[in-house]
Amino acid sequence: MENDKNIPSSIRKASIKKNWAMFKQSKLGMIGLYIVAFFLFLSLLQPFLFITGIWNLGTYDPVVGYSEQFQDFLVVDCPKEYPTEKYQSRTDCPARNEINIKTLFYSDAKVGDTINQNLQPAPPSRKHILGTDPLGRDIFSQIMEGSQVAFVLGLLSATLGVGISTILGTIAAFYGGRVDAYLMRQSDLILMLPTLPLLFIISAFSELQVWHLAVVLGTIGGLGGSVITIKSQALQVKVKPFVDSARITGGTKMNILFSHVLPNVAPLALLFMVFSVTGAIASESVLSFLGLLNIDMSWGLMIYLAQVEGYIFSGMKFWWLILPAGLSVTFLAGGFYLVGRGLDEVFNPRLRDR
């Protein structure tokens, strides 16, 4: 790292500034950055709200919170045959502000009365911005918890994966020969492993925790295809004149590797990191959607619960159970992807507009 000290900080600052200006030019990249920032804000907001006491843990806890939600309901008698004038099909009755008299116990209400009842899932209100789930838990708080999980998992697995693949890729490029051949066969093998069935099998081993998943995903991602790409980049750097001159001036192999080759591979590695966050978030959601992950709350689990409890085919009647979680996964993964694309345009001069 002696090499770093020789670069004046002003030059480095200028280079960062230049790259930032270039990144800013890509509109979609900026949108991605805003999306990521928004979710980061959400995930930091929840502990803040709990610590300052604005939110009461008993009511808003994403896993065990509960609050009563009294609403006015119109008592109706659902017809036996559909369609009728008011209802198209069986799922339309009772509508959202109505309650079927056949499901009403311990009450003397008659058809046409309005009664005040505690019924979950409750629609969005001032107290619960995105409503509650069938167990009376706040959906907005769950979304925040889910984004914490997504960030921890995504960043952990991406850092691990990129660390492994950068080191292995540069070693393969630098030493060549047998080491190279071995590493390439290894990544052929990893590339071939069907990830999702593999994760199913690993989930049969033990109760998968989030950090287990992060380690597994990071290792698979790190040993796979990215090694090949980083190796080819490192090969290009290796033949550059400055590496030769470093060798002539007596730099050791380690020295050259760490202070000349690695910094030049770093942009590509950063790119991989951003892209692999997308994959990690999607994998986590899929696994918890299938109920294979031992986790208290996540976006995938929210959709899993909505599906298991039969709210998916109720359509837009219970939209707050279905849309927020699905869209959060999509948007955060998309946000990271867009940032990656923006970075790609910064690092890859051939993609630039001019």
Binding site: L193, P194, P197, A204, W299, V329
Partner: protein, 390 residues
């Protein structure tokens, strides 16, 4: 070229053995020895217990077990399924493989082709408003949470509009008096699709050398229409007349899964094609072509797109595994009883022999798909051909 293929096959065999060893060690590492605990299952008779113990050599050291496993793999012997006792894992797989193969092949072809076409247009219209919108849509469908999206599609098309069936791959009512099993129908469907696409590709290759663009397009359209007429004839001839109804039933159930996966899978190809096209368009030969006064469409299709195809095919090699993953999910959500559902079920029920067999088969599946993609890549890239000759 032959030398290249031979070398690839040689590597393939090595990777294949590595894969077998890895997968066995993985299953063996399951804590509590899943083999033995589940063999105490009351549904299994003691003979089966004996047989599985001998087959997997459960009382021998690890390295001998691995060798035994590889031997058994080539004999096609995985013992018995724990949950569906008299059936063997191989029988289960033989029953389900055609279904997965059909879905997988359809999705792959359709999504790759649409993706490439859209990516081509995207790169060409850089900076226009339609480009931004198509890009945003592609990014959305690339990163959309797939199970959620599939459920939404099911809700819209299967439930709300009621156009397409929800789940399963046939209507049992239609099949009560069927003289065929569903697998026979699947196999004849696969044969038909393979034949159809081969003829289509042949037409494509022959029409490639027609110089004028409008003429080429007309030839292709005519060939496509005649192919459709031919396929109608095909299904009305010989034995296929009776199979027609059942084949149609399966095809009808396949529309929604194929459409859903295509919407998700095309975007990756489209976005990558866009990137590589943009790189290629910076090259000097495009400028030369422009200077020569060749029409825009021709530059796009002949000069830029053809050179941009290479990296797209490479990435396709990488994404095959992703598509297999996707089909596992598709099968689970659309309750399409194929390999993916088999592996998920067997893992959930801890039916180790079936999980092992189906994991190995999915691996082989991926391996062969990889190999084919590699070969086509070598065919497309003259540099590899020349290198392997010299």
């Amino acid at each position: 070229m032959t030398r290249y293929i031979v070398r690839r096959i040689y590597q393939l065999i090595i990777v294949f053995f590595l894969f077998l060893v890895t997968s066995y060690v993985l299953f063996d590492a399951i804590p509590g020895n899943a083999f033995q605990t589940l063999l105490l299952n009351p549904n299994l008779p003691p003979e089966a217990y004996q047989r599985v113990t001998e087959l997997f050599g459960l009382n021998q050291p690890l390295h001998e077990r691995v060798i035994l496993y590889i031997q058994n793999f080539f004999k096609g012997d995985f013992g018995y399924s724990y949950t569906r006792y008299p059936k063997t894992p191989i029988e289960l797989i033989a029953e389900r493989l055609p279904r997965t193969l059909m879905l997988f092949a359809m999705v792959n072809v359709v999504s790759f082709y649409t993706g490439f076409l859209i990516g081509k247009i995207l790169a060409w219209r850089r900076g226009s408003k339609s480009e931004t919108w198509i890009t945003v849509t592609s990014v959305f469908s690339y990163t959309v949470f797939y199970p959620w999206f599939a459920l939404m599609m099911l809700w819209v098309f299967g439930y709300k509009l009621d156009w397409l069936p929800i789940g399963k791959f046939l209507y049992p009512e239609t099949w009560y008096e069927s003289p065929y099993t569903s697998d026979e129908i699947f196999i004849s469907l696969i044969k038909f699709v393979a034949l159809f696409s081969i003829v289509q590709i042949l037409f494509f290759i022959f029409s490639r050398n027609i110089e004028s663009i409008s003429k080429r397009r007309n030839t292709r359209l005519a060939s496509f229409i005649s192919l459709i007429l031919l396929s109608i004839l095909y299904w009305n001839s010989g034995d296929f007349v009776n199979q027609k109804v059942y084949a149609f039933d399966i095809a009808y159930h396949m529309i929604l899964p194929v459409f859903t996966v295509t919407v998700v899978a095309f975007a990756g190809t489209a976005l990558l094609t866009r990137t590589t096209m943009m790189e290629v368009m910076k090259d000097d030969f495009i400028l030369t072509a422009r200077a020569k006064g060749i029409s825009q469409k021709r530059i796009r299709d002949r000069h830029a797109a053809r050179n941009a195809l290479l990296p797209v095919v490479t990435s396709f090699i990488f994404t095959i595994v992703t598509i297999i993953d996707g089909s596992v999910l598709t099968e689970t959500i659309f309750s399409w009883p194929g390999m993916g559902q088999l592996i998920l079920d067997s893992v959930l029920q801890e039916d180790i022999p079936v999980a092992m067999a189906s994991f190995s088969f999915i691996g082989i599946f991926a391996l062969i798909a990889h190999f084919l993609a590699d070969i086509s890549y070598a065919y497309l890239d003259p540099r590899i051909r020349i290198q392997s000759q010299g």
